[in-house]
Every structure is written in structure tokens, then in C-alpha cells.
């Protein structure tokens, strides 16, 4: 029996866990981080786009040695029907700056790097170690953890739960409910390997420039969902995700959607001749603000995906994870420096600090969006994309029909599909949810 005492134990070595562990260890706290995977990143799945600003606040000079794939200079939003896409593209030379804003990354490599930084900051990192139980004292305060290794309890003043979206440990300990099918999306992705120069040629990129396509429409078969294509250095990540509850009610399979997306005439030529080397699937918290559980308690805080902190509208997850991890770490460092005990009352500081950050503010902004998109998914992901494609094609096709008649036909299509009242109400509800 080993009796070990740490200032803090961080459970999980993903974005939020690493951010928390790094923040605390670099401020001199005695930190133990436990990760069930073989190495940090081995269990972690993301698209993935990494936002520089949030990482800079943790490791300012990360660009020196972090494994980054491409910095993004072009973003394409596509509305798709079965044979076409209507798109808005934004590309700017301004994104070729000294300190670019967004990068594509490969998590297995990135997380290894991040974990090395955590260890260099002084934290003890144990992999292949699963926390099986939170240990409480007689008053219910969390005081340590048990693992699947022989040797008893490890004690700490505070436990940072960064265990990811499933949050098995926290739900088992009764700290929060397990995620519901309506609040998590299931996303699947595959990595298509292509030579660097082929990627650069197909997307019009040079050197480390990258391009992102995000697409919605009939591709998700009337479910609320989003498909993506991200360019890495020598590979292209392709994926699609929809709510778990939508998959169960429609009986659709994620891989069927991914197959269809991959074979879509707008996507197929972009990945022609590639070799698929990796498949992955992951749950993404999409419940938004209303799904955020209790974030702190006696001797514990919860961060990242485990706390459902994910902005589905802007497809931002890892930066909310990093930021919540950093803020939790800073709150704990503050309490520690004042010699304050890690009680529920004191740890409320984490929530207060998080509320002031973009994390909670953004989630409040979009608090009604998940409900709107999911309850009206057929309109937003089937009817409108089809109407839009038809309208665009009607506009492009030259066939001797007078232009005025064409426009009338398009308007008639919209009204037939959604009625005047329906169109107005969709627009108003969307505007309100966005506001």
C-alpha cells in the first residue's frame, strides 16, 4: 500500500486535462495526471482544427515545436443536395500571418507533444492507468482516486475530471447524469492519405497553407448534422456527424452517411487516388449551454467535454476544453496560494471565472440553437438545401426561359415547400437563436 499525496490529480490527458495539468504544474503545484490510453492521444479523436489563441494563453511559444499540419487560409461552407453544392468560400492572404490563427492538427501527434510539455512543467503523468473510483471522506468530500493498478488510493486536495465526453467516472460517482442521446452527436471520420503536392494542387495551396470544407444538407438524410473535410500535410480528414438520437430514430448508420459523403460528386475528385489508413468515431457533446452539468463540488471540478463544453454551431470544442482546463487550473492555483481549502464554496471560483470567459458567453449566445436545428432538422437539412440547389441551378441554366419567369418559379418553389408563414417563421427563429 502506497500512500501518495498530490496537490491535484487530473484525470485524462486530452486537451482540457493537459491544459489543467500544465497550468498547475508550471505554477509549482504537485500534479499527478492519469490517462487510460497507452500514450496521451491514443484514445483521443478530433477532426481536427486547433485554435492558436487558446493554446497561446497556455503555451505562448507553442509554434516553436508543436506538431502542426497546416494553417488555414481558406474556409468553405457548402450547402449540399445529392448532386450539387452551393458554397460560400472565404480565402484571405491575411491568414498568412506570422502567428496564424487556426491550424489543422493530428491529435495523436499533438497530444504527445502537449503531454511532453506537461511533464516538462513538472507533472507526473501515468498512462495505461484507469481511474476506477473517486474516494471520499466521511463528509463526502472527494479526497483521492483508486486505479486499476494494485496499490490502493492516491490522495490529492482536488481532483480535476477531464475524462472526456462519456464521463463514466463522474456519472458513476453521481456528480452528473450520463450524456443523453439528444445531447451528443456521433461523428465518424477517416484519414485519406495523399502526397503533399497533390493536396496542394487540388486545393490551390502552397507550403503549409490549409483549406477546410464544412458541409450540411441532404448528406445527413434530414437529420441535423455536419460533414467536414480538413487538409493535413499529407492526408485529408473526412467526416460526418449527427445526433445519436437522430441515428436511433432514423435507423441510419454513420458509415453509410460517410460513404455517401465520400462518393458525392463534389467530394470524390478531391480525394481521388487516396489511401485510407485510419477510421475513428467519437461522441461530441452538442447539448449546448442547457446541457452543462454541475461544474464543481467538494474536492473536484469538471472540465472540457466531460462538462459538455462544446460550441456545436461554430464547431469549436478543443478550445473550450483547453480554456476550461486552464481556468480550472488557475482557480486551483489561486486557492492554493491563499491556502484556501478545496471546498465546494471555494471552487465556485472556477465557475465564476469560466462565466466571464468566451466559453460560457458563446454557449449562452447559442443556447436555443441545438433545439431549433434538431426539432426542425428536416427543413434545415433537407428542404432548404434542395430548394437552394434548385434555385441556383435555375439561375445558372440558360434555356430561353425569360428571367422573370425563372425567378417567379423559384419563389413559388419556396412557398410551396414551406408556405409564406413557414418561411418567415424559420427566418425569425433562426435569427433569434443566432442572436
Amino acid at each position: 500500500m502506497t500512500e501518495q499525496k498530490f496537490d491535484a490529480i487530473v484525470i485524462g490527458a486530452g486537451m482540457s486535462g493537459n491544459a489543467a495539468a500544465y497550468t498547475m504544474a508550471s505554477q509549482g503545484l504537485k500534479v499527478l495526471q492519469l490517462e487510460r490510453g497507452e500514450y496521451p492521444g491514443s484514445k483521443n479523436v478530433q477532426g481536427a482544427i486547433m485554435y492558436a489563441d487558446m493554446l497561446e494563453k497556455i503555451i505562448p511559444n507553442f509554434r516553436d515545436d508543436a506538431p502542426l499540419e497546416r494553417h488555414l487560409v481558406e474556409q468553405r461552407f457548402w450547402i449540399m443536395d445529392d448532386t450539387s453544392h452551393t458554397g460560400v468560400h472565404y480565402r484571405s492572404e491575411d491568414f498568412n500571418e506570422v502567428k496564424p490563427n487556426r491550424y489543422t492538427i493530428i491529435r495523436t501527434q499533438f497530444d504527445k507533444w502537449f503531454s511532453r510539455k506537461v511533464r516538462e512543467a513538472g507533472a507526473t503523468v501515468l498512462c495505461e492507468t484507469t481511474v476506477t473510483e473517486l474516494v471520499r471522506d466521511t463528509k463526502g468530500k472527494v479526497i483521492g482516486v483508486c486505479t486499476d493498478r494494485a496499490g490502493g488510493v492516491v490522495f490529492a486536495d482536488v481532483i480535476v475530471l477531464a475524462e472526456g465526453v462519456n464521463g463514466l467516472l463522474g456519472t458513476r460517482a453521481g456528480l452528473r447524469e450520463s450524456p443523453k442521446p439528444e445531447t451528443v452527436a456521433l461523428a465518424v471520420k477517416e484519414m485519406h492519405f495523399l502526397p503533399e503536392e497533390v493536396i496542394e494542387q487540388r486545393f490551390g495551396l502552397k507550403a503549409d497553407e490549409g483549406c477546410v470544407i464544412e458541409a450540411a444538407g441532404t448528406i445527413s438524410r434530414s437529420m441535423a448534422g455536419l460533414a467536414f473535410l480538413y487538409t493535413n500535410k499529407e492526408s485529408v480528414s473526412l467526416g460526418i456527424g449527427c445526433l445519436v438520437s437522430a441515428f436511433t430514430s432514423t435507423m441510419e448508420s454513420p458509415y453509410v452517411l460517410l460513404d455517401a459523403f465520400r462518393n458525392h460528386p463534389s467530394i470524390r475528385p478531391l480525394i481521388e487516388g487516396s489511401e485510407v489508413k485510419e477510421y475513428a468515431a467519437h461522441l461530441i457533446p452538442e447539448g449546448g449551454y442547457k446541457a452543462i452539468p454541475q461544474l464543481f463540488g467538494d474536492g473536484w471540478v469538471v472540465v472540457g467535454d466531460a462538462a459538455q463544453l462544446n460550441n456545436a454551431v461554430h464547431r469549436e470544442g478543443s478550445n473550450l476544453a483547453m480554456t476550461s482546463g486552464r481556468i480550472a487550473g488557475e482557480a486551483i492555483v489561486q486557492l492554493k496560494s491563499r491556502m484556501d481549502p478545496m471546498t465546494k464554496q471555494n471552487l465556485a471560483l472556477y465557475k465564476t471565472m469560466l462565466d466571464e470567459s468566451f466559453v460560457v458567453k458563446d454557449l449562452i449566445k447559442y443556447k436555443d440553437m441545438p433545439a431549433l436545428l434538431h426539432t426542425n432538422s428536416r427543413n434545415f437539412f433537407m428542404t432548404y438545401p434542395q430548394l437552394m440547389s434548385k434555385a441556383a441551378q435555375n439561375f445558372m441554366r440558360v434555356d430561353g426561359t425569360p428571367k422573370l419567369e425563372k425567378e417567379r418559379a423559384t419563389i413559388a418553389d419556396f412557398i410551396r415547400a414551406r408556405s409564406r408563414w413557414g418561411l418567415v417563421s424559420d427566418a425569425v427563429r433562426l435569427a433569434f437563436a443566432w442572436r
Partner: protein
């Protein structure tokens, strides 16, 4: 007892691919593991230590990243890890490797106590030569017990060991004096899951890093590429076989018809076989 276990960090050969155009091995992004055969040696060493007391030192030669393999060995419960790393070692074949390792084992003996047993795995999964273990034994003048399936008994006081050795056509029961070198056969045991204390110790402890000079190696001409007479003349992917599987339509046919058709198809393609079978039936 002091036991030294030589391990090697190898690319996970299950995940290695050959480049379709250049025919070179694509090592990039292939995860590395401890050579699986070495884990049987390590577990056996740990068991002997648990029974008879003493220490287990794991030793490897490799690039700085081989530290990961050593740290993992510490997590399993090894007491000490030594990494022999130097650019002079780059490009070593089995001759140069066994030279460097044997010198390092002498140095380990001076620093931490003379080893009673040196363990290696049967062979590595990347080279598959099974030469390094015997090479070390020869250079250190150790009695060598190769392909050991079981350690029957060890008597540290009488300095004797009895083992079962798998050989062609049977199992040999061998008795030997200590010190000796053992290459351990696969499937002889199962590597343990280290305790939390072992894992914590592994995460915190420093891996001892030795350069050629630190290991007391003076003759650098015996190291690395210079000390390696082995030459890789060519690497190639074996051509895929020309024969293709043939499909027989099975719809609307009884099993008997199918069997007859199958036999007829095979025999028309292999006339020699028909002749052979007829001849044998005749006898």
C-alpha cells in the same frame, strides 16, 4: 541477485508497410513497442527477483526515443534502466550491437553489481536473427542457455540454475553454473501489470543514459556502421502471386454435383495429380 535484461525498441511490425514504388520500409508514424519476445525475458527476470531478492536492470541500445521502451520496462517493475545511446552506434548490425551491449553489461556490473544472469528475448521481430544474445554470451564468456522454455530452479548460493530448453525434437533439461545468459522463448509467461507504486516510480525516475565513452567503450571501430560487416544489398517486396482464385457458380446444384464439378475442374488443371491419384488407387 542482479539480473540484466537486454531489450530492444522495435517498430510494431504488424503496422509496418512497404512503399509501393520505392520498396523501402515506411517507418514514419509506425508506433514503437518493446520487442514482444523481450517481455518474456523481463517477466522471468522479475519473477526471479521477487523469489530470490535482488535487482533487475534493463538495458537497451538505441536512439534517444528508446527511453520510452525503458520507461515502460520500469512501469512493469524493473528497478533500473540504462540507455546506451550515441551517434557512434548508428547503423550497428548484430556483431556491433553485441559488442556494444557486452561492454555496457561490464560497465553495469562495475556500477551496480556483477550480474548473475543476463536475459534476452529469443530474437527481435524486426531483425529476426537471434544472434545478439549468443553474441553477448560469447564476448562475455558466459554460459549460454538459448530457447529456454522454463526455469526449473535457481540456487543463488550454490550458483546453479536448471532450465528446460526447447530443441529440435524435444525438450532438454539443462543445468548450468551462474553467471549465464538466457534467451527466453515466447509463451513462457505473461508480462505483469505493474503496481501503482511501480508506475509512479517509473514516471519519476531518471533513465541512466550512457554514451560510448560512459560505457567504457574505447574501440569505436567495432561500433556502428564501421563495426558492421553486414551489408543490406537490396530491399524488395515479394511479387504477389500470379494465380487468382476461381469462382464456381453454386446456384441450383446439389452437393454431389458440386463435388464432382470441383474435382473435374481441379483435375483438368492438374493432369499430373490425376495420374498420381489413379496410380495410387491402382496400388
Amino acid at each position: 541477485m542482479h539480473i540484466v535484461v537486454c531489450i530492444k525498441q522495435v517498430p510494431d511490425s504488424a503496422q509496418i508497410r512497404v512503399h509501393p514504388v520505392t520498396n523501402t520500409i515506411m517507418r514514419q508514424g509506425v508506433p514503437t513497442i518493446i520487442n514482444p519476445y523481450d517481455l518474456f525475458a523481463l517477466e522471468e527476470a522479475l519473477r526471479l527477483r521477487d523469489t530470490h531478492g535482488g535487482e533487475v536492470t534493463v538495458l537497451t541500445m538505441g536512439p534517444p526515443m528508446a527511453e520510452d521502451a525503458l520507461r515502460k520496462a520500469l512501469t512493469y517493475g524493473a528497478d533500473r534502466a540504462v540507455l546506451l545511446t550515441d551517434r557512434f552506434f548508428a547503423g550497428s548490425d548484430t556483431l556491433a550491437t553485441s559488442f556494444a551491449l557486452s561492454q555496457a553489461i561490464v560497465r553495469v556490473g562495475q556500477a551496480f553489481g556483477t550480474p548473475d544472469i543476463v536475459f534476452t528475448g529469443k530474437q527481435t521481430i524486426d531483425g529476426d536473427t537471434a544472434q545478439v544474445g549468443p553474441g553477448i554470451a560469447k564476448r562475455l564468456d558466459l554460459l549460454q542457455l538459448t530457447y529456454v522454455a522454463k526455469i526449473a530452479s535457481v540456487d543463488p548460493l550454490a550458483r546453479e540454475i536448471a532450465v528446460e530448453r526447447r530443441s529440435e525434437g524435444g525438450t532438454q533439461m539443462l543445468k548450468s553454473r551462474l553467471p549465464c545468459l538466457i534467451t527466453m522463448l515466447e509463451g513462457t509467461n505473461e508480462i505483469r501489470r505493474g503496481s501503482l507504486a511501480d508506475a509512479l516510480r517509473a514516471a519519476r525516475s531518471q533513465v541512466v543514459k550512457w554514451s560510448a565513452a560512459d560505457a567504457g567503450i574505447e574501440d569505436l571501430t567495432k561500433c556502428g556502421l564501421r563495426g558492421s560487416p553486414t551489408v543490406v544489398k537490396r530491399v524488395f517486396a515479394p511479387p504477389s502471386r500470379a494465380e487468382k482464385a476461381m469462382q464456381i457458380d453454386t446456384t441450383d446444384k446439389t452437393l454431389r454435383d458440386l463435388a464432382n464439378e470441383l474435382a473435374a475442374t481441379i483435375l483438368t488443371r492438374q493432369p499430373a495429380l490425376e495420374h498420381e491419384l489413379t496410380f495410387r488407387d491402382g496400388v
